[in-house]
Subunit: 319 residues, 2 copies
Amino acid sequence: MILATLHDGTRDGRLVLVSPAYDRFAAAPLPTLQQAIEDWPAFVEAAAGVSDFPQLLDPASLTAPLPRAWQWLDGSVFPTHADLMQIALGHDPIESDRPLMYQGMSDRFYGPTDDVPLPSEDDGIDFEGEFGVIVDHVPMGTSADDALKHIKLIVQINDWSLRAIAPVEMKTGFGWVQAKPACSMAPFAVTPEVLGSAWQDGRVGLDLHIEWNGKAFGHANGRAMQFGFHELVAHAALTRDLVAGTIIGSGTVSNVNYAEVGSSCISEVRAIEMIADGKAKTGFMRFGDKVRMEARATSGAAPFGAIDQQVVAISSKKS
Amino acid sequence: MILATLHDGTRDGRLVLVSPAYDRFAAAPLPTLQQAIEDWPAFVEAAAGVSDFPQLLDPASLTAPLPRAWQWLDGSVFPTHADLMQIALGHDPIESDRPLMYQGMSDRFYGPTDDVPLPSEDDGIDFEGEFGVIVDHVPMGTSADDALKHIKLIVQINDWSLRAIAPVEMKTGFGWVQAKPACSMAPFAVTPEVLGSAWQDGRVGLDLHIEWNGKAFGHANGRAMQFGFHELVAHAALTRDLVAGTIIGSGTVSNVNYAEVGSSCISEVRAIEMIADGKAKTGFMRFGDKVRMEARATSGAAPFGAIDQQVVAISSKKS
């Protein structure tokens, strides 16, 4: 099942079922993705009866499939990302045999083509390409094995990050607030079977193709997660029920062969430059810069669609 | 204006207007506090016309005034708390001239008398008595002066904390997930004028009386915040719009004369014992333990009502 949400002037938008060819849509049995995930078995049953997709899909009409969520917990479980960020941000190695995870802003996810307003180029504006999952209600104490069954949808996310602020907040131990503004989401949320063999061990085995201002930047593969999404869900649920519609992120996709496949955020490239030349030469994003992110199978299929958007100064934000 | 929310089987409950004597209530012009804060001027105008409170108020019928929120950002701005927690958790001093703040779980706030289910006594179950504010929509970049006008309601919170996990998560720099389960809220949310002169410089100048298993534990005063709530709101809004209904917390109320006034969390008491005797002797909470929290004026008035609840093992959780 492929789900998307149309802009309709409300904060939750209007949920639709998308055809297997991604070119047409039908009304969904429930009006929003939040309502669908709260009543998932009934929703799936009702959606299974839909085989006619009467309307043409206009990609420009789509917002994030889940435009706001009650909870967003972002992991960081690509070891290569952790190693490079330690160099980029200049902090001590993080000693942990547990998944790294922080709680982020969830009340708004930008749509795939929304402009992203930010206050200052001096904050070190960076993108972070990653994957995420949406769960139904997960009771406190759920095991990793059981958690796999609660993963109902998979999404692709850009976790916007402000690198000048990140190490300042990180040093407090309190995690990030100012350094992590609202994220963006690719247009399609898909059930695991849409990914076929690319969904394995709770990991998305797809290359995440990233272009910065039209230039190829990276195509790292999502399978290199040290912990699978089911383990991240269990980690998050140790001392809390996870509300239906909770989104769990993988953290920046990163591969050990970065010299070949490139990176999914600018900070990693700067760290690689530091290792090679003693200093970073690539700057962060400027207002007007664009980033495009699209996970693709070797067949060329792009199950989540593309994030393709620009960063703008807060004063030039569209109203 | 005094607001409360009745249990009605839904996640948001049913909002009511409470009489000045806190003994009766009237239906509110909008059904939930979330809807009220999204449309605040119209709500206030409609509520101003209500002078008859036809129904008797049963305290047992009340849940948290805002039972779930799109965002919960908790500060930590009582310097005495920071100093003592550094000793209690054994971390390095936090060097920061900015307010400390983390993003916490917001999809559920326990009501004032709800049982609080947790998985293990070994996690170091602790309470943290604090104050919070609820804002309407705050645009990105709002100044502290302007932020004061966005503070529409003031609440009293117990920020449940698991101290065995806290330092492990803190050392990663990512902040807390497992160490910060759902918080609890006292029954009444009040507009600033209800507090009268106790609301000053964005601070709540009331003693927060805390009893642990019926025994007086502390009555520290909320005015000792190093930063006022308006400064916390501005800090939070630097790189994001704050969605209407965002709750901002003060962190654990703590006073420099703790020998006289006591504390608002067990960890502080343990740190004070470490300073005096080289080791902590007070243990954390056990299942069945109760905590009561009630901010009181010298007149005896308790504008937020009392949190009065017990911790239970997850398996004995009421369904």
